[in-house]
C-alpha cells in the first residue's frame, strides 16, 4: 500500500511543517534564542518538509530493492539537496560559519532516529506475527 500519495502529499507536508515549526519555536522559547532570520528559516523548514516528504514517497516505488541501498540512496539525495541549498543560501545571504554542519546534523539525526524506529517496529512485528502463527498452528492441531 502506498503511504504517501498524490491525495495526502500536501497534508503530510503541512503536518510535518507544523510540527517542525512548533518544535523550532518551543526550542527557541526554552533557550531564549531570538531568530534574526525568522522568515528565511520558516521558508527553509517548508522547503525541507516538501523535499523530505517527496523522498519518503519514493519508498513505495523502491520496495523491490533491498532496504539498506534504498536508505543510503534516500539519505544521499537529502544530503546533496541540503548541501546545494546551503551553498545557494550562502550566495544569496549571510549564513553562519557552521551552517553546513548544522544543516547536515539537522537532517542526519532525524533520519537515523526514523530508521532505528522503523527497524525496531519491523522486528517487533515479526515477533508478533510469529506468536500469532504459533497460536493459529496450536489451535489447528487441537481442532
Amino acid at each position: 500500500m502506498k503511504l504517501i500519495n498524490k491525495k495526502n502529499f500536501i497534508s503530510i507536508v503541512c503536518i510535518s511543517f507544523t510540527l517542525v515549526v512548533c518544535g523550532k519555536l518551543l526550542l527557541e522559547k526554552v533557550i531564549g534564542f531570538t531568530d534574526r532570520h525568522y522568515t528565511e528559516n520558516i521558508f527553509t523548514c517548508l522547503g525541507f518538509s516538501i523535499i523530505i516528504t517527496a523522498v519518503l514517497a519514493l519508498h513505495f516505488y523502491l520496495q523491490r530493492f533491498p532496504l539498506i541501498p534504498v536508505l543510503i540512496a534516500q539519505y544521499a539525495i537529502v544530503i546533496c539537496t541540503t548541501v546545494g541549498f546551503v551553498k545557494l543560501a550562502d550566495i544569496i545571504a549571510d549564513t553562519d560559519t557552521n551552517a553546513m554542519w548544522q544543516m547536515i546534523l539537522s537532517v542526519t539525526i532525524p533520519f537515523i532516529i526514523s530508521a532505528a524506529v522503523y527497524y525496531i517496529t519491523f522486528f517487533r512485528q515479526i515477533k508478533k506475527a510469529n506468536d500469532i502463527i504459533a497460536e493459529i498452528n496450536h489451535v489447528s492441531i487441537n481442532q
Partner: protein, 152 residues
C-alpha cells in the same frame, strides 16, 4: 451450536455431519466457512485434470501470467488469476505476500526478518518464500483477522 467429535477407527475419510431443525445465523456462518475450507482447487498436473482441497495448498504464485498452486507433492497449473484465488477461497487462510504470490497461513512454520527488512516465510515443508515490504501491513491485518476468527 454444539461440536461433537467422535473417534471412529477404520474410516477411509473423515467427515462432518450437521444435525439441525432450523438453520440459524450461527449455523449459516459455520457452513459458509466450511464451504470455502472444504472447497477444492482444480487445474492440470502432468497433463491430467486434478482436484485438490485448498487446505492442502502451501502457496499460489503467478509465473508468465499462469497461476500455479503448490502442494507437498505437486504443482498444479490453474486457469484462474491470483485475484480470483483470493476471492474464491477468502476464508481458507490465504494471504497475499507479493504481487505474484499468495500463501496459506496454516502452512507457515515461522517468519524471519533480515537486515534489508525483507521477510522470509518458512513453510512447514521447509520451503522459503519472500514477502515484499509493501504487503507487510496487509499480511499483519489478515493474520489478526484469522486469529480473531479462530478464537470465536
Amino acid at each position: 451450536m454444539k461440536l461433537i467429535k467422535t473417534k471412529e477407527r477404520g474410516l477411509t475419510e473423515n467427515y462432518l455431519e450437521l444435525h439441525y431443525d432450523e438453520i440459524n445465523d450461527e449455523t449459516k456462518e459455520v457452513i459458509s466457512r466450511l464451504d470455502t475450507t472444504l472447497s477444492n482447487v482444480e487445474g492440470t498436473y502432468d497433463e491430467k485434470h486434478v482436484s485438490v482441497p485448498v487446505t492442502e495448498v502451501l502457496y499460489f504464485d503467478t509465473v508468465d501470467r499462469k497461476t500455479f498452486a503448490y502442494t507437498d507433492k505437486m504443482c498444479i497449473e490453474m486457469r484462474i488469476t491470483l485475484r480470483n484465488v483470493l476471492d474464491n477461497y477468502s476464508d481458507a487462510g490465504l494471504i497475499r505476500i507479493s504481487k505474484s504470490a499468495v500463501v496459506n497461513v496454516y502452512k507457515i512454520d515461522h517468519l524471519q526478518g533480515d537486515i534489508n527488512m525483507r521477510t522470509t516465510i518458512f513453510l512447514k515443508n521447509g520451503e522459503k518464500l519472500v514477502m515484499n515490504r509493501g504487503y507487510k501491513k496487509e499480511f499483519m491485518t489478515e493474520l489478526e483477522r484469522i486469529k480473531e476468527r479462530n478464537r470465536k
